[in-house]
């Protein structure tokens, strides 16, 4: 290949005996140790190119030993290395040599940085599949054992994730050893390792024989669930979901439920929080019978927990809980067993709890149907629309579409309006911003008449807000409204009001006119743009404030493509040419840019 490149450029051309294809590879290899981390990273990412050039033998005998000790580098380099090695089997000679990749990954699996370790473990899991069963027992399983009995907890935590990939393919004798190792990690001295074991318990259970699950995993689960550290106990709740999926209803009742009941009443709020957070998963895994007998009462307790974080997590699950119930019992269960607690939460002392509830409560209306919604939920919605905390009101308003499908929004409109007006005038601009974003949705639900009558003035008021982010959002809002209600509506209601602002004494408001025109011109089309908007823009070219003038140039550039040639040549061009001679540098710049973009030169 080198010779074939002939007399062209490239390093090979001058020397007779050199190989020009080696040069870029040589650079890559040298840059593995460059002082610039970006270059090292670049080289590591092209590790496969290096390995390909070296060939499988030298990759195994030289490159991998070098990489095995390259553990002093920056995290991002190590992360890239760990990732590369996962796809390296082909480059070291195929599955027969996959075990050569284990030493560097073993080292990476012990570094302190979790992301690197996790990536090394992920690559190890990938490579394990490429081992033959013999190689797995000869190389991979010993590696897992080494990690599992390592001095430092980083190596033992990494081992926890590797058991489940070698177990299904190991011989019975080795399987017993693996189970033994996992057992001992579950009672490790350091909480870090117990946490890693607890978080992999479910995954490991899935690859075990059912008998072993019952005889070994369940006791481990029970132990971890009563660990002295709540950070371990809370992970057992997660494992509970996976284990439950493997067991029959009867076994669940005797083997898992006692532990879960304990978790629901755990002294630590973090454990109870976890139960609330994983409630839907638990509900699905445990099945309808246990749900009815045990989980619903548990959920009631979580909804009135003394810790607000727990109540908020439970409140978040109210809708999913309903959806996961059997269709025939849904309505009764929610109405009789859940709704009384929800009513309490509407007036909770903690704003997070109330806003969590407000974000899902509207979803219940689909489950409960029209009559129940009107009778029981509507009063709650109305109360929430008057809540002192703006987030609660926003969450209700943002989910109006759910309730609209069931009872129609008109039921709410009387209360909705004051709530919207109050949010629209909230002292915090982020609240105002949030409500603006729901305006197009509200407009769609409430219809054009109601909108014109009640909300239009709000939308116009935002255009002169003293915070730029609000004016900007208000501009975008107008565009979305025009898309919804059409050009005729725009011409009658929006455009005149926008154009009036062009004479405002405040130059910021005059600029808002320009921004609105930028946003609206496309939606409004050629006729309105040419007849109504263009004259105003052109007139503003004579504004005394330079910022307005260069925004005129920008606006002309923006609306130019919508205009016809006559307007462009006859009206826009002279104005831009004049602005191109402006004394202000910025005005000149933007005018010239517009001229060149619109090809008016």
């Amino acid at each position: 290949m080198a010779g074939a490149s002939g007399l062209g450029t490239g390093p090979g051309a001058a020397g007779g005996d050199g190989d020009d294809s080696l040069y870029p590879i040589a650079v890559l290899i040298d840059e593995l140790r460059n002082e610039d981390v970006q270059l090292r990273l670049n080289s590591i990412k092209k590790l496969s190119t290096i390995a390909l050039a070296l060939g499988v033998e030298r990759t195994r005998s030289e490159l991998l030993p070098f990489l095995t000790d390259t553990i002093y580098d920056e995290d991002e380099v190590l992360l890239a290395l760990a990732e590369q090695l996962g796809n390296f089997t082909g480059l070291v000679g195929g599955p027969d040599f996959a075990h050569c990749l284990l030493p560097p990954l073993e080292n990476l699996a012990t570094v302190e940085e979790t992301v690197v370790r996790d990536k090394a473990v992920e690559s190890l899991r990938q490579i394990s599949q490429e081992h033959t069963p013999v190689a797995l027992e000869a190389y991979f399983v010993p590696l897992v054992k080494r990690l599992a009995s390592g001095d430092w907890f980083t190596s033992r935590t990494s081992a926890c994730s590797l058991f489940s990939v070698c177990y299904p393919r190991a011989s019975n004798a080795v399987k017993a050893e693996i189970r033994q190792q996992f057992r001992s990690l579950c009672s490790d001295d350091t909480p870090m390792v117990r946490r890693a074991a607890a978080s992999k318990l479910g995954e490991f259970a899935k690859v075990l024989e059912l008998d072993s699950v019952k005889s070994e995993i369940v006791p481990l689960f029970t132990n971890l669930a009563s660990d002295e550290q709540d950070s371990v106990r809370l992970l057992a709740v997660e494992a509970c979901v996976s284990i439950a999926q493997l067991l029959s209803q009867d076994d669940l009742e005797t083997l898992v439920m006692p532990t879960l009941r304990q978790a629901v009443e755990d002294k630590s709020w973090r454990v109870r929080y976890m139960v609330a957070d994983k409630f839907s998963e638990l509900q699905k895994a445990m099945g309808p019978k246990i749900t009815l007998n045990d989980l619903i009462p548990a959920f009631q307790n979580l909804l009135k927990d003394c810790e607000a974080e727990v109540r908020a997590a439970a409140a978040h699950k109210v809708k999913e809980l309903g959806e996961n119930l059997p269709i025939e019992d849904r309505e009764t269960i929610i109405m009789n067993q859940i709704l009384p607690y929800i009513k309490e939460l509407v007036s909770d002392t903690n704003p997070h709890v109330k806003s969590a509830l407000a974000s899902v409560i509207m979803g219940l209306s689909t489950i409960l149907g029209k009559e129940n919604t009107i009778e029981h939920l509507l009063p709650l919605f109305l109360a929430q629309l008057k809540d002192e905390c703006p987030e609660v009101r926003l969450n209700i308003i943002s989910n109006l579409d759910c309730v609209n499908e069931v009872i129609g929004i008109r039921q709410l409109s009387q209360s909705l309006l004051p709530a919207i007006v109050e949010l629209a005038e909230d002292a915090k601009w982020r609240v105002r911003l949030a409500i603006i974003e729901y305006m197009p949705l509200l407009a769609g639900q409430l219809g054009v008449e109601f909108f014109d009558e009640k909300l239009n003035s709000l939308c116009m008021a935002w255009l002169v807000d003293h915070v730029y982010a609000i004016r900007e959002a208000a501009t975008n809002n107008l565009m979305k409204l025009v898309q919804k209600f059409g050009t005729e509506w725009a011409q009658n209601t929006i455009v005149p009001k926008v154009l009036v602002m062009a004479n405002d004494p405040n130059y910021l408001h005059r600029m808002t006119t320009l921004f609105c025109i930028n946003a609206l011109s496309e939606a409004c089309g050629q006729e309105i743009t040419t007849k109504q908007m263009l004259p105003i823009v052109l007139k503003m070219a004579g504004d005394q404030v330079a910022n307005v003038r260069f925004n005129v140039a920008k606006s002309l550039q923006k609306i130019g493509p919508i205009l016809d040639t006559n307007a462009l040549q006859g009206e826009v061009k002279p104005v831009l040419q004049k602005l191109g001679q402006d004394e202000d540098m910025d005005v000149k710049y933007f005018a010239q840019e517009a001229i060149s973009v619109l090809a008016l030169a």
């Binding site: 051309a13 030289e62 430092w152």
Partner: protein
């Protein structure tokens, strides 16, 4: 109590030492200073050629942890002084520590490197560039042994969470979280997350004019990951259980000794302020230091301490002048020995005090070059309070209040102590038989 000992002293810090801390094994000792520097000492391992070297601590690594900064929003200078250092439990061959100044906590990694890669493609051994046109074969670098190099690298920076000055950091026994306390708030961090922390205690009153007390120190329980304590300027200690609620504004235990009305004075409140709180290794007791005494509390008894040791009771008559020269606000720390049978804390005139809890004996020792030679035993010192001064005694009036020992540390297993006397570090240990 252990008094016969060898002495090593260092004066490596150019600045005043502001914190001293052994790691979990005791093989490393970290010190921080007013100039933002951290110096780490390593204990020499058994060495056949130098039989006496066992136990000697030598400098292992030195690095600049914090730099002076300026808060432009508040027009405040942020000192680089290291307020506290805490080691993390060892997780791999490297060592990790947290260091903090008034505002910013940093996680440092201290690691060793003893191999170096050799061999480049584009240059030869002495660094001359090779002709890139004449590369005939690729060279993969080879690792060769080299002299041990110790590197300290910053791993994480936990900033912008404290409005007031950070006085304590403490690593949780769950190995993944730690707390940081300032005058009015305590925050909980995850060691891997720098952009978020949870406020677990907030004693800031809505109206700052109603402020009556501040947090002076805080520490996690050594084994129970949900328990921590914090002490206040009013001489009380609150124990909180993080299991009961997310915000620990309501304590689960409140330790306070009823005030003795007979000794009440203008200075009572100032001298009862707690400057340090430390759990015993067993987790059963905690120790608090106030201006004149050190107290041991049983966690099961909130009404009064089980032991009170006077550190320098002779200063009670001097409180007025100590107030005038601001010494009364000095923050003395205290520490336990490895078996919780003895405690140590500092005093003035380069004196430090040790109390044996079993025998109830106590001793005053002096950390100074002038009074002690290497490998010699430390002589107990005595302060005379009465009129007649015996030989070897020192009068209260001649104590030097500029020579204060605020920071001390005790090896977690052996009888080795580290004492910071302004800008000198002294390490004492029992004589090897």
């Amino acid at each position: 109590c252990c008094c016969g000992r060898e002495l090593f002293s260092w004066r490596l810090h150019s600045d005043i030492i502001s914190t001293v801390e052994f790691n979990y094994s005791g093989d490393l000792l970290a010190t921080g200073d007013k100039g933002g520097r951290v110096v780490i000492f390593q204990r020499e391992q058994e060495n056949k050629s130098r039989p006496h070297s066992r136990g000697e601590y030598n400098v292992y690594s030195t690095f600049q942890s914090h730099e002076p900064e300026f808060d432009y929003l508040k027009s405040l200078e942020i000192e680089e002084k290291i307020n506290k250092i805490r080691w993390l439990p060892q997780q791999n061959a490297a060592h990790f520590l947290l260091s903090t100044n008034d505002k910013t906590i940093k996680l440092w990694k201290i690691s060793e490197r003893d191999k170096r890669a050799e061999g480049y493609n584009l240059k030869d051994e002495d660094g001359r560039l090779r002709d890139p046109f004449r590369i005939t074969a690729l060279r993969v670098p080879i690792l060769k042994p080299m002299d041990l190099m110790v590197e300290a690298s910053p791993r994480r920076i936990f900033a912008n969470a404290h409005t007031y000055h950070i006085n304590s950091i403490s690593v949780n026994s769950d190995h993944e979280t730690y707390l940081s306390a300032d005058d009015l708030r305590i925050n909980l961090w995850h060691l891997e997350i720098t952009d978020r922390s949870f406020n677990i205690v907030d004693i800031k009153p809505a109206n700052m004019e109603e402020l009556t007390e501040v947090i002076t120190a805080a520490e996690f329980h050594p084994h129970q990951c949900n328990v921590f304590v914090y002490s206040s300027s009013k001489g009380t200690i609150r124990l909180c259980d993080m299991r009961s609620s997310a915000l620990c504004d309501r304590h689960s235990k409140f330790f306070e000794e009823p005030e003795d009305p007979s000794s009440r004075s203008f200075f009572s409140e100032i001298i009862s302020s707690i400057s340090d709180v430390k759990f015993s290794h067993s987790g059963r007791y905690m120790m608090t230091r106030d201006y004149l005494s050190v107290k041991v509390w049983d966690l099961n008894m909130e009404s009064r301490p089980v032991e009170t040791h006077q550190v320098h009771e002779y200063l009670r008559s001097k409180l007025c002048s100590l107030y005038e020269n601001d010494c009364i606000f000095d923050k003395f720390e205290c520490c336990w020995n490895g078996s919780d049978s003895a405690i140590m804390t500092g005093s003035y005139n380069n004196f430090f005090r040790m109390f044996d809890r079993d025998t109830r004996r106590d001793v005053t020792l002096e950390a100074s070059r002038e009074s002690s030679k290497p490998r010699a035993s430390l002589k107990p010192r005595k302060v005379c309070t009465g009129g007649k001064r015996k030989k070897d005694e020192i009068s209260v009036d001649s104590l030097d209040f500029n020579k204060k020992i605020l920071h001390t540390a005790w090896h977690p297993a052996d009888n080795v102590i580290a004492v910071a006397a302004t800008n000198n570090l002294y390490i004492f240990q029992d004589k090897i038989n």
